[in-house]
Amino acid sequence: MAIEIEKPAVGLSKVAVSDTHGEYSPYFAGWKAYDENPYDELWNSSGVIQMGLAENQVSFDLLEQYLEKHSEATNWGNRTSGFRDNALFQDYHGLQSFRKAMASFMEQIRGGRAKFNPDRIVITAGATAANELLTFILADPGDALLIPTPYYPGFDRDLRWRTGVKIVPVHCDSSNNFEITPQALDAAYNEAESHNIKVKGVLITNPSNPLGATIKRSTLEEILEFVTRKNIHLVSDEIYSGSTFSGEEFVSVAEVLEARDYKESDRVHIVYSLSKDLGLPGFRVGTIYSYNDKVVTTARRMSSFTLISSQTQQLLASMLSDRTFTENYIKTNRERLKKRHQMIIDGLKNSGIECLKGNAGLFCWMNLSPLLEEPTKESELTLWKSMLHEVKLNISPGSSCHCSDPGWFRVCFANMSEQTLQVALTRIHNFMDRRKAMKSSPDFSSY
């Protein structure tokens, strides 16, 4: 019998076979568990409640109302020339009206404390694309970005996968509420240097994901001083800027720059998106706002790889330039998020769980370190598994966010109804009660 000679399979690239997409990490594994057994108030009340998805569903009704009332925003047939322009060559400049509307919306979110020039806005299909694009522009393969921990797990994939750029963590810990310090920045920079890795920039998320807190003005100024000193870039991912619970506490890097007359600003770039603040992740709208002309030009050309359809731009341009709508939305959304946040904080407190003091975002940063067997990552993951399989809650373990202190978890509260949140809180409460009982009963060998 002839032996079949196996021909070598046609090869794929390293990018294609790498697992930098990170879908094997707990952050995503939890989602799978949810997909397999999703909670439903009526049909599956013992299912897994998804608390790992940072999405904003609390203000859907406002959007629905707007679209009901303004159906002309979705109808382009009538305006002949409008349509022709609309279906125009997918020009990477984007519709002027849309860029204007975005600029104005970003200004409103910052209470008018910063001005945005529509010509510096580059549009992309989502913040994911915006962050990757900036990374391509600011760094070469092998270079690094410094990112304060804990950070959004998706960065490992979004910033590194195709770009070949590395992430060097800037370690922040609970001793000072996870604030970013100049010492931590310097330490990270030196760490990179010692491995002969060139640092090209710092990337911060403000308000922070997963901390759910805004960065103080003084910290922003220190960061700016650091990047200036090192002659590197600063990317400020401000996608949660509209999800602060009060209007005043959020300070954008744009405000700091404006206050100093835009000195040294061409190393600063802001990322924004409508997915979180406006609850429109399905629209895939992201923007890069750069104070650097070269970066704007290049980003614009690169946005050819990640365009937003002119139809979507048109729709959003109408909506975002409607001040009545936006002012009401921003205000109402804030109030509702604040209320939700209070609800979960109180609920957790009743169960004896503390959270980091938060003032923004769609999640809270919960401290379960007292529950750990040992202060290790493994213990944290064991606890996470219990939460997932016993309590049936999918929350995000701090280790997947590269948190150096074990035992912290990110818990989302805006992607569900109030009733569902109540169910989740009850489950946590019961879980904590069981643990207390377990601890006070010496005969209990295992749970």
């Binding site: 021909k7 070598p8 046609v10 090869g11 794929l12 690239s13 390293k14 990018v15 294609a16 076979v17 859907f60 679209l67 159906s71 979705t74 109808n75 382009w76 047939g77 349509f83 609309n86 279906a87 125009l88 997918q90 694309a129 391509f136 522009i137 600011l138 070469d140 393969p141 092998g142 270079d143 979004d158 195709r162 070949g164 030196n190 240097e193 010692s194 491995h195 060139k198 640092v199 090209k200 920039g201 000193r229 002659n231 061409d266 429109l280 992740p281 399905g282 629209f283 070269k294 970066v295 290049t298 690169m302 050819s304 790889f305 937003i308 359809s309 002119s310 139809q311 979507t312 729709l315």
Partner: protein
């Protein structure tokens, strides 16, 4: 002193404790993250170190790690000129020095395309022709965008948009919520059906093999990222459309090795040329990972017949490489020749060829007058590529409302049938008219069966039979005749004098205007004798 091959700019300023042992490591090591690999030898390192100190003392400018021992004595008052730092890595010469103290950006910024193709497009965009309002404006013949049948689509949209986006039973939460990045299943199903309608054959396209992206441009880039590593190459028959350079090469680091096609062969691809190009690439140390073709081809507009497709598959099998077939103009065929999709070959000859090497790119913007609604399709037979592409689609996803709209539109099969028919007729009509007009001027075009452009031989109008002569004509066309056409050199055509003239943004009555303008300057051109 050994030259460091890594990106050699040291950031300066309070670096403070730079390690005394400046490490000399190969680029490879850095990229592979083997930090901490100490290979350096002490003396060059120490010399380096002292030079760094000297340069840093110069006040915080970014400095290159020089290849040669410092020539300037400490008493000099200025830094050595960049150009005297010879043997620095070529990338560095490209990267912008910027103003002093400005943070550097990546070398990708330097590698931007700025050739005639882009200049012409911008010119035309800045000063667009309008019969009424701007009769002296630039007529755009450089944009392969289909406006011929916009009115048909517009009519449909006027009647159907609102319901499509916000269906009765599907509230905003349906369109606003998080969906998988590679497209809604319903859309993939109707796109599969549409692809079959477009090629006018009852071919089965499997929706499960589809990844949807925000346009054909990211579709090609994603495939490039999946099939080749930085420094590898694709073969591409030339002339090829200018944007291919950007799509395949810009961010991926993949090279294109052109496979020249000639007018003598009607610009069709020959396997001899393929072989030659493959071997040349090998000699240059480039590993070829695949071939990328466009069918119908752009800028020429010819179709690949069955025989040629088989030859390509044989070649790819022999070399164990991939084939990417860009079929975005499949719905704009207008001649008598049959269009054969690569998918058809695989479907019918499945056993003879390894389907894992075949990937098709498609898009709606060319065929369905919807560039502003850009949807691209990756259709692959390779499970691993499919899996990777699905994840990579997150960087170029299509917005949900657009998807809903398209689901609705593409499901209206009667409308689509009608649209495809009308569009084809109009493309054909414009092609004939335009070709005819050019013929009157003595300008011949390659016989084309697809796409909405003419590939015209204007060499009789150029002064010197060279790229320079061609660009002079291009410039004259743009600035004097006020007609933007794409010169063959932007398409890597080896024969000077060829131009791509797209007629899809014109109306019939614009054609005489264009012909007249070209005629006027052709009279002022000295013909090559």
């Amino acid at each position: 002193m050994k030259k460091t091959r890594n990106s050699t700019t040291t950031t300066t300023g309070g670096g403070g404790a730079t390690t005394a042992m400046r490490v000399i490591v190969p680029l490879q090591g850095i990229v592979q993250g083997r930090g901490g690999l100490f290979l350096g030898s002490v003396i060059p390192c120490a010399l380096f170190y002292f030079l760094q100190l000297y340069l840093k003392g110069r006040g915080g400018r970014n400095s290159d790690e020089p290849a040669a021992p410092p020539e300037s004595s400490p008493s000099e008052t200025h830094l050595p000129d960049v150009s005297t730092l010879q043997r620095v890595h070529s990338r560095l010469l490209l990267s912008p020095r910027g103003t002093s103290g400005l943070a550097q950006v990546s070398s990708r910024i330097a590698k931007q395309a700025d050739g005639p193709y882009y200049v012409g497009l911008n010119h035309a965009a800045d000063d667009p022709y309008d019969e009424m309002n701007n009769p002296d404006g630039v007529i755009q013949l450089g944009l392969a965008e289909n406006r011929l049948s916009l009115d048909v689509v517009q009519e449909w949209l006027a009647d159907n948009t609102r319901e499509s986006i916000i269906c009765q039973d599907l509230s905003i939460s349906g369109i606003a919520a998080f969906q998988s990045f590679d497209g809604l299943v319903e859309l993939k199903v109707v796109v599969a059906g549409f692809m079959s309608q477009v090629i006018e054959k009852p071919m089965f396209f499997n929706p499960a093999q589809i990844v949807l992206t925000a346009g054909a441009t990211p579709a090609i880039e994603i495939l490039s990222f999946c099939l080749a590593d930085p420094g590898n190459a694709f073969l591409a028959p030339s002339p090829y459309y200018p944007d291919l350079d950007r799509d395949v090469k810009w961010r991926t680091g993949v090279e294109i090795v052109p496979v020249p096609c000639r007018s003598a062969d009607n610009f069709s691809l020959s396997t001899t040329a393929l072989d030659r190009a493959f071997n040349q690439a090998k000699k240059r140390g480039l590993k070829v990972r695949g071939i990328i073709i466009s069918n119908p081809s752009n800028p020429v507009g010819i179709l690949y017949n069955r025989e040629m497709l088989y030859s390509l598959l044989d070649f790819a099998t022999e070399k164990n490489i991939h084939i990417i077939s860009n079929e975005v103009f499949a719905g704009s065929t207008h001649g008598s020749e049959e269009f054969v999709s690569m998918a058809e070959i695989i479907n019918t000859e499945g056993e003879n060829f390894d389907r894992n090497r075949v990937h098709i790119v498609y898009g709606l913007s060319k065929d369905v007058s919807l560039p502003g609604f850009g949807i691209g399709v990756i259709y692959t037979f390779n499970e691993n590529v499919l899996s990777a592409a699905k994840k990579l689609a997150r960087f170029s996803p299509v917005s949900a409302p657009t998807q809903r709209l398209l689901i609705s539109m593409l499901s209206h099969t009667k409308f689509i049938q009608r649209y495809i028919k009308i569009n084809r007729e109009r493309v054909r009509r414009m092609y004939i008219l335009f070709m005819g007009g050019l013929k009157l001027l003595g300008i011949e075009c390659t016989k084309s069966n697809g796409g909405f452009y003419c590939w015209a031989d204007m060499s009789s109008l150029i002064r010197s039979y060279s790229e320079k002569g061609e660009l002079e004509l291009w410039e004259k066309l743009l600035n004097v005749a006020k007609v933007n056409a794409t010169p063959g050199s932007s398409c890597h055509c080896v024969e000077p004098g060829w131009f791509q003239l797209c007629f899809s943004t014109l109306r019939e009555k614009d054609i005489p205007v264009v012909i007249e303008r070209i005629r006027r300057i052709s009279e002022t051109c000295i013909s090559r004798s």
